[in-house]
Point group: D3
Chain length 332, copies 6
C-alpha cells in the first residue's frame, strides 16, 4: 500500500470542562490536534498508510503530543524534535446560543521555525501516492510557507497526487512578507483535489458573487484547471449544540450532494472538516464519486460525537451509518 | 402485602465517562444491574415487597454489588454467595449518530453455576403472589436455565402469577445443549403476563409477517393461551441521544396504546425496558389496564433520565408525569 | 456613573453532579447565588456600578461566598459579617421529563437576623440612581421584611428609581406575623419598574382572570399607578432540558414582545429570571424600550448556557446574539 | 445474639477535596457520621447485632444519610423521620503543621427536636444487652438530653449494660438550662464502661491534678463506683499527618496498656475514638481484658486509613494487625 | 542493537481511587500491567530494543491495553489477537497499617489459551540477545506453561541469554496437571540470570533453612549451575505507605549489596520488582556488577513514585538518583 | 496604613494531577503565581495594604489570572492589560526520590514587553512605605529590567524602604545585553532588606568560600552596606516529599536562627520562599527581630501545606504555630 503524507503543526488544546467559561475553570482538559494531523488520523483509522511531518519541542510535552497519533497508526518516522515551545490553544466550548471561544497561543512555536533541510524528501515520498496540505501551514510563518511550497513542488515533480484544504484563518498570515493570495495560488495550482469554502474563496482569491456551490466550483476550476475534484461542506448552525451538516462535490461534470445530517447535541465539533478531508482522500482511492462523498460526510458527521480534535471511527462504523438507519442503537 | 420474586444475574457495569470511546478512557464508572434486578428495584420503589434470588462471589465486589438494591428496599434474604467471579459488562455510551457499544464479560460467572438446591423454594414463595423471569437467565448456562424453569414450575404449582420478558440476546444461548425455542416455550406456556417484541418473537418462535402489534399479540396469545396480558414497547431511535418511546398492551380483547414520549437528550437508556416491566407488574396489581399501561410507559420514560441500570423514581413522580404537563419544572 | 444597589440573601448552592439524583451522589458542586446578587452581577458585567447589601456569617464559608461577586465587580463595601450560618440550598438538576428538585435549608440564616442599623443608608444611597428589591427578601423573616421596606422608603425619599421582582415562593412567608399581601403592596406601590408573573400576581394580589399579558399588565398598573414599566417573562417548558423563552414589556402605552428563543439542551436554568431583571435595569438606562426588552431577553437566554446562578456574559455577547444569527459559531 | 443499641445524631459531612482550604473549593465530598453511629457501624462490622435510634428529616438527604449504615448491617428499624433539617458539618482537612478546621451547622436539626414518645422503648430494648451513649447527645438540646437520660434509665431498669463516651465539645451545651456537670453525672453514675479523657474530666467534673491515666482512672472510679472498665486513648500529634496512638484500660485492679502505633500519613482521623469505643464494646463481650484493649486500639489505628467517619474494617483485619507485623503487605 | 524478548500476559488493572475501599467506590482507575510487560517497558525506557509476545482479545479493550507499551517503544509486532476476554485484577490500595488487597479475575483469559504455533519463533529470535520469562506465565494454564518452556528452549538453542523471575503466586498453578516444581526447574536450569526470593525458593524448590541471601544464593547456584547472576530484593514494610528497599546480587564469587532506600509515602508499589528486573537486564549489558545492582535498585526505588504498574523513568533519572543526593529537588 | 508595592510577572501554572508524570495526564490543574505576587498575597493575608504592578494580556486568561489576588485583598489598581500572551509553566510534581520538573513557556509574554510609561509612579508610591523586587523580574527581558530598576530608583528617591529577593534562575537572563551582575548590583545597592542564598550569591556576585550563613551575611553586608537585614532560608531535602526547613537572619550585629521544621508529606512547595519574604516584610514592621524571623519561618512552613503558589494562611494561624505545639489538632 502506498502512503498518504502531510505536513503540519500539532497543537496542545487546553479546554474548559463541561460548559464552564474561562473565568470558572481550575482545570483544563488536554488533547492534541492540528488540521493535517486530524486528516491523517482519520485516514489511518480507515486503513491508509500515513506519514506525518512536523516539528515539536524536545521536551515531555512535545513527546506526549504524538502518543495518540502513534496509537492510531499514523507514521511518525520524520518528526523533527527542535525548538522551544509547543503551540497551544485554549478552548471554551459553546452551549446553546453562546458561541465557543478559542484563544490561540502558537506564535514562536517549534513548528514555525521549520527548515526544509530537516526532512529527507526523497525518503519521505518513497512509496507515497498522495500529499495533503492545508492553508494553515503557510499562514504560520515564512519558513512554514516555504517548506509547504517545497513539499508540494517535490511531490508534484514525483507525480504524486496532491490535495489541499483552503482553511482560511483570519488571525494568521501575520508574518512579515505574508502574501496569502500569491502563496495559496501556487499551492492550489499544483493540486488535484481541493476542500474549499465560500468565505475562504472570497478572502484568498476574491471569488465572490456566485449563487451556489455549483457556480463556486466552476469558478474555482476555471481559475485552477488542475483541480479534478472540489468538495464543499455545508454547516447550518441552529445553535452551538445543534447543527445540520452536508457536503457537495464537483467532479468537473456535475455537482454531487450528500444526505444532510441533523446533529445534536454536539459533543465536539473541532476537526469535523478535517475528518471530512481524511475520509475524502480515502474514498477517492476506494469508492466511486457519490459513495466517496457520502462516506466523507458520514465520517465527519460521526466526528461531532467524538471528544477531541481527532476522529476515532472505523471504516465499518462509517459504512454502517451510510447504509443503516442512523439510529444509534447499542451494539452488543 | 404479598411479595414479588425474581431470579437473575447481577452484573457490574464499567462505563466510559461522558462521550469518551473505549480507547480514550483511563477511568470506568461503576454501577450494577441486570434485567431482573432492574425490574425489582423499580417495583420496590413503587412500594411492592420484593425478593431477589441470585448468586454472587463471596468477595468485596460481590458484596458491594447489592448495596443499591438493599438501599432501595429489594429483599436480599436468599442471595447465595458462591463461585469465583462477578459477571461484567463494559459500556461505551453512544452519542448522536454513533451507536453505544457493550462488551460482555460474563462467562463462568458465579451465577452461571447456580444450583436449585441452593434455594429454599418453599420459604421463597411463602407470601409471594408474583414471580417474574426474563429470557436472559435461561440463556446464560444450562444450570441457569434449569433453575429458572424449576422456579417457574414451583411458582405455578403454588398458584402464583407469573410474568416474563422475552429479552432475546443473540450473544447468549451459547452453552452446550442450548435450546432457546424449547426452553422459552416452556416458560411462556406457564406465564400470565409477557413483555414481548417483534424481533424476539421471530427469533424465539418464528412468529413473523404480522402487520402490527395487534396482530403480533393475537398470534402470541393463540400460541400461548395462558397469556392474559401482552405488552410491547415501541422505541423509535432518531439518534443515540433522541428517541421516541411508547407502548401497547393487549388485554385479550383489545390493544391499548400509551402516549408517545419524545426523549432527548437521553441520559442513560440501559434498563428502560426493565423499568417498564417493573411498573407494569405494579400497575396490574393497582390500576385498571389503560392506567397500568400509561404508568409503565411513564416510568420507563423517566428511566432515560437516570444514571445507571436502576430506575430511581417514586410512584408519585410517575403519576405526576402522567397527570402533569411533562414540563420538568423545578420542584422547590 | 451612578450605582445600582440591591439588598438580599446570598445562599450556598450544593448541587448534584451531572444528572445524578440525591440518593446517588457522594459529592456536591458548590456555587453561590441569590436573586438580588444574580441581578447585580448581571448588571455589573454590562458595566453598571453596583453595591450589594447583605449579611453573612463571619466564617470561611461566608467569606468565600462573595468571591465571585467581587471578581465580577459587584460592590461589597457594606456586607455585614454577623450571625451563625449561611443559608443553603441543595439542587438535583432535572433531565428530560424528570423535574429538578430543590431542598432549601435557609432558616435561621445570618441574613434572616438582619437589622436596619447595620447599614449606613445615607452612604449607601450616595451616588445611587436605582434600588432593586425582590419578593424573596421580605419573605425570609420579619426582620428582613422590615429592612427591605426601610431601604425602599429611604431610596424613595431620595428620589432614587425603584424596581422589584415579585418572585413568589410558596415555601417562604412562614414567619410569625407574615403578611405577604400587605408587605408586597407597600413595596410595589413605591416602585417604578416591576418584573411580574401570572402566578405571583394571583398569589400576592388576587389578580386573576386576565386573558393575556397585556390585560395582566393593565390590571397591575391600575392597582399600582407608580409602575412605568412592567415586564413578564414567558417560559414554555417542553421538558426539563428544552424550553422556549420570551418576554413582554408593558410601557403604559403598549405591550412590546421579544423574539422567542428555543433553548436546548439547557445547561443551568437557575437565575435566568434574575439575569433578565439585571439586563432590564441596564437597558432602561441605555436603550429605548424595544431594544431594552430584546437585550434582557437575550441576556437571560444566554444565562441558560452558564453553570451556576450567576450570569457571566458581557454586553457585547448579548448584542451579538440580538444582532447575529444565534449560530453559536466558534469565535477564534 | 443480643443487640447493641445507641442513640445519637447523624450529620452530613461536607469536606474539602485533598488538602484544599475552604476558600479554594468548588466541590464538597459528602459522607455521613456521628459519634454513636460510628460506634455502631464498627461493632456491626465485627458481627454484633445493632440498632441505631435517631431522628432525620423526611427528605432525600435524610433518607440518603442512612444508606451506608444499612449497607453495613446497622439496624434502622426505629429511625424517626420528622423535622426540617439534617445537621451538617464542613471539614477542611489539615496537612503537615496546618490544623484541620470544622465548621458546625447543626442547630435546629431534626434530631434536636427529639421526643421520648417517638420511640417504643420496650421493643427497642427487647433482646438488647448493651446501650451506649455519648456526651454529644445531651449537649445538643434539652430535648436530646432528656431522651438520652430516659434511654439510660430504661436500659438500667432492664439490667442492660451501659457504656458512655464523655466526648466533651466546647461549642455545644449552649441550650437554655444546659447543665453539663449535672447531666453527665447522672449518665455516668448509671454506666458500667466509660471512655474518658483528661480534658473532658476536667471540664465536666473538675477532676484535675492527676499525674497519669492510672490516677485519673482511680479518681473517676471513686466518683463513679459503678464503672467496671475505664478506657483512655492517647493521641500524640506530631503534626496533622502523623500521630502516635495508644490506649489504656483500667479494670478496677490495674491499668492495662496497649501497643503504641505510629500512624502516618493519616488518611482521615475523624471517628477514630468512636471506632475504639465500638471495638471495646465488641471486645468486652468476646475477649479478655488485654486482648480487648489491643483489639480496640488496633481497630482505631486502622480507622485512620479509612475515608469518612465510619470505620470499615472486619474483625479478621483487626486481628491480623494485632497478630501480624503491621507491614501492610498486599493481600492477593 | 539486539533485542530483549519476553512473553507474558497483560492485565487490565481496575483500582480504587485514593485510599477508598472496594465498598466505597463508584469509579475504577484503569491501567494495564503484567510482570513481563513491566520488565520490557522499563528496559525500553532505558534504550533497549524490546519485543513483547502476548495474546489479547480482539476487542476495544485488548487494543487499548497495548497503547502505553507502544508509546514507550515496546515492540508489538507479534501480539496475537484471539480469544474472548482480557484478564483483570481489582486493586484496593493499602494505607498506613491497612494492607492493600487484590482480587484477580484472570481465568479463561485470551492469554491462557495461547498456542506455540501462533508465533514465528525464528523471526522473533532474529537479532535477539536476551529472553526473559517470569514464574507467572507457566502458572496460568497448561498451554501457557507449554509455550513458555518452548520459548526458553528455542532461545537456549539459539544461544540467547535467558533470565527469569521466580514470582511465586499461591493463587495460580491451579490448572489440571500443574507441576510447579518440575516446570520451574526446567525453566531455571536453562537460565543465566535469576531474580529470586526466599519465599519463592521454599515454595518451588523446598530450599529452606538458609541464614541469609548469601547462603540462599549459593544453594540456588549449586542446584542450578547455569546461573551466573542471582539477584534478591529486600523489602522491609514499615507500613503500607513506608518501606525500606535494597537488593543483593550474587556473582558466583561474592554477594554485592546496594544502598537501602527509605521510601515514603509510597505512590504505587505494584511492579517494583519487575522494574528491578528490567533495569538489571539493562545493567548487565552496560555496566559492571556493582553499578548494575545500584542501577536496578535505584530504578525500582523510583518505581514506587509512579502511578500504574509501568515504570516511567529514563536512564538519566536513575543515574541522577545514584550519583546525586536523592533530594527530589525540582528540575527547572 | 501605608502600602507595600511590588512589580512582577504573573504566570499560569498547569500542573499534573496527583503524582502523575507529564506522559500520563489528560488534564492540567490551573493556578496562578509569580514570586512577587506570592509575596504580596502573603502580606495581604496578614493585613498589609498591598499593590501589585504587572502586565497581562487583555483576554479571558489575563483577566482570570488576578481573581485570587483580588479575593485575597491584593491591590490591582495599576494592572496594565496589553500584549498577546500570558506566561505559562508546566509542573510535574515530584514524589519520594523522583524530583519535580518544571517546563517554562514564558518567552514573549505580555509582561516581557513592559514599559515604564505604562505606570503612574507618583500615584503608585503615594502612601507607600515599602517596595519589594525579586531577581526574576530583571531576568525576563531588557524592558523588564529597565522598569524594575526605574521602580527601585523612584522608590529610593521617595525614601521608601526597599527589599529584594535574589531568586537566581539559570534559565532566564537570556535576553540580548543581559548583565546579571551589573543589574543585580544596582538593585541590591539600593535595598535595605535582602533574601539571599549561597548559590545565588556565587552566581550573581562571585561571593564564595564562606563557611556558614554568618560569614555569607557579613560578606554581603560588606559589599552592600545599605543592607540592614539579610535573611537566608535553609532547606534540607530528605526526599521530594520530606524536607526540613529553617531560616537565619543577620541584623548587622548577629545572626539569629529559627526553629527547624520537619515537613512531610509535602503538599506543595512552590512559593515557600516567597511566603517567607512576605511574612518577613510584615514582621519587620510589627515585631522585633527574633519574632520576625520565627514568624516568617512558620509562615513558610505552613505554605508547604497549601495547594498552589499562593500562601493562604492568616496571621493568627502563623502565631498559633509559633506559640503552639504544631500538633495540627482539628479546630472545631
Amino acid at each position: 500500500m502506498k502512503k498518504l503524507v502531510s505536513l503540519g503543526e500539532l497543537l496542545m488544546r487546553l479546554s474548559c470542562e463541561d460548559a464552564l467559561r474561562f473565568s470558572q475553570v481550575n482545570n483544563f482538559k488536554v488533547v492534541y490536534g492540528g488540521s493535517e494531523a486530524n486528516v491523517l488520523i482519520t485516514a489511518a483509522n480507515f486503513g491508509l498508510k500515513t506519514e506525518f511531518l512536523s516539528v515539536l519541542p524536545e521536551n515531555d510535552l512535545g513527546k506526549s503530543a504524538i502518543n495518540d497519533l502513534r496509537n492510531n497508526n499514523v507514521g511518525l518516522n520524520h518528526i523533527k524534535f527542535d525548538g522551544k515551545r509547543l503551540g497551544l490553544y485554549f478552548l471554551e466550548t459553546g452551549a446553546i446560543n453562546r458561541p465557543g471561544k478559542i484563544i490561540y497561543d502558537r506564535e514562536n512555536s517549534a513548528f514555525s521555525q521549520i527548515e526544509p533541510e530537516w526532512f529527507d524528501w526523497d525518503e519521505i515520498f518513497e512509496d507515497c501516492n498522495w500529499f495533503h496540505w492545508s492553508g494553515i501551514t503557510p499562514a504560520i510563518s515564512a519558513k512554514a510557507a516555504k517548506v509547504c511550497l517545497h513539499a508540494v513542488e517535490v511531490a508534484k515533480s514525483k507525480g504524486i497526487k496532491i490535495s489541499g484544504d483552503l482553511n482560511f484563518r483570519g488571525n494568521l498570515w501575520q508574518y512579515e512578507g505574508a502574501n496569502s493570495e500569491g502563496t495559496m495560488t501556487k499551492l492550489v495550482e499544483q493540486s488535484d483535489v481541493l476542500l474549499a469554502g465560500a468565505y475562504a474563496c472570497s478572502q484568498f482569491f476574491n471569488i465572490k458573487d456566485f449563487q451556489n456551490n455549483h457556480e463556486l466550483s466552476k469558478a474555482l476550476q476555471q481559475k485552477f484547471p488542475s483541480l479534478q475534484r472540489i468538495a464543499i461542506t455545508n454547516r447550518k448552525e441552529l445553535n452551538a449544540s445543534h447543527h445540520k451538516w452536508s457536503a457537495d462535490m464537483f467532479t468537473g461534470a456535475e455537482l454531487l450532494s450528500s444526505t444532510e445530517y441533523d446533529i445534536y447535541p454536539i459533543v465536539d465539533r473541532v476537526g469535523a472538516g478535517d475528518s471530512f478531508m481524511g475520509a475524502l482522500i480515502y474514498g477517492l482511492q476506494h469508492f466511486e464519486d457519490q459513495k466517496t462523498l457520502d462516506f466523507a460526510t458520514a465520517a465527519s458527521c460521526l466526528k461531532h460525537s467524538i471528544v477531541g480534535d481527532f476522529n476515532r471511527v472505523s471504516k465499518e462504523e462509517v459504512l454502517e451509518l451510510i447504509e443503516g438507519d442512523g439510529s444509534g442503537r447499542i451494539i452488543r
